[in-house]
């Protein structure tokens, strides 16, 4: 099978699935579990938040996730400074006993675009402390190169603003990023539907990370399967090598032997 042995390798760890999914915004835990299952994802993102001390009856996310099956990728969502992001990562490592982190340092509540200055600062500290850092970043090839130089295990440029569903707004920047760095390029944020994920993969991106695109769909479990198929289809198409685009037609049937 053409998909065999096409592993995504991050910091020496191999994954069969190139789709990473979030755990937020689902109606309930059973729906989340079914969607993750349908997505085929092996890496799933989680957020780090204070335990509610006064109301201890709420179920815990980890009661629903098979930690033997999935690699948790804790995020620093909601952090606006390097210090807060670093602190969150240290807590995440202690809670999860893994050093994988999705580092995001936001610049603005309206756009949720990254603050790249703080992002670079946090990445440098965390890499020193032995974390495997996967940074959510602008689709800026220069920033991506700096993140790679610092030792990030991948770069995760946005396709469009978080939760916007606008798709891959700047495929040319993604191509330049793919041409600039050697670490895996994972499109993180902005994917709205299956074709968006396929486009990212057809460009040669190594993976796609999404949450709202699945959890916010009318039928999240069906959309999770659609994304699973789209990421695999896009990857296969990329590896298969598409035909060049031509302005004019090129007949598929032979011209010789026509009856007239």
């Amino acid at each position: 099978m053409p998909e065999n042995n096409d592993k995504l390798v991050i910091a020496g760890r191999e994954f069969d699935s190139r789709l990473m999914v979030g755990t937020g915004k689902y109606a309930d835990f059973p729906q989340m579990v079914a969607a993750i299952e349908a997505s085929g994802a092996q890496i799933i993102t989680v957020a780090v938040r204070r335990v509610n001390i006064s109301d201890r009856n709420k179920e815990s996310l980890l009661d629903h996730i098979d930690l033997k099956k999935y690699t948790l990728l804790p995020n620093t969502a909601g952090c606006y400074t390097a210090d807060d992001a670093i602190r969150t990562c240290r807590l995440a490592r202690e809670a999860g006993l893994s050093d994988f982190v999705k580092l995001e340092v936001l610049g603005d509540e309206r756009t949720l675009f990254p603050n790249n200055e703080e992002l670079l600062k946090a990445a440098a500290v965390l890499i020193q402390e032995g974390f495997t850092v996967l940074p959510y970043t602008s689709d800026d090839p220069i920033v991506c190169r700096r993140l790679e130089d610092l030792g990030c295990a991948a770069v995760m440029p946005l396709g469009a603003p978080i939760g916007s569903g606008l798709g891959i707004r700047n495929p040319y920047n993604l191509r330049i990023i793919l041409d600039t760095v050697k670490v895996p390029v994972i499109v993180d944020a902005g994917v709205g539907t299956a074709s968006d994920a396929a486009i990212a993969m057809e460009l040669g991106c190594h993976g796609v990370l999404m949450n709202t695109g699945i959890a916010g769909a009318q039928d999240p479990v069906a959309m999770a399967l659609a994304m699973n198929l789209a990421v695999r289809a896009g990857r296969l198409a990329f590896r298969a090598g598409r035909i060049p685009m031509k302005l004019h037609a090129n007949a598929s049937s032979p011209l010789a032997g026509l009856i007239a």
Partner: protein
């Protein structure tokens, strides 16, 4: 004695971090704890006594993207 837990003031009897978590109904394996802004390793919960004025942060994983 008085401590701060997740940003709120609390008045408690002297006890260890481990015992405090259990008293709150929290599974110590499922959380991470910061004591006065320093990570407290899980192995240190039983041997760490809370003191007057301590500030605790207790976090866990929730759904997110």
């Amino acid at each position: 004695m008085n401590i701060t837990i997740n940003g709120d003031a609390a008045s408690i009897e002297p006890l260890s971090v481990q015992d405090y978590l259990i008293q709150l109904g929290i599974d110590p394996r499922r959380v991470a704890v910061e004591l006065n802004r320093e990570i407290l390793p899980k192995g240190a919960y039983p041997g760490t006594a809370l003191k007057e004025g301590d500030s605790l942060e207790i976090v866990h994983f929730v759904g997110g993207g």
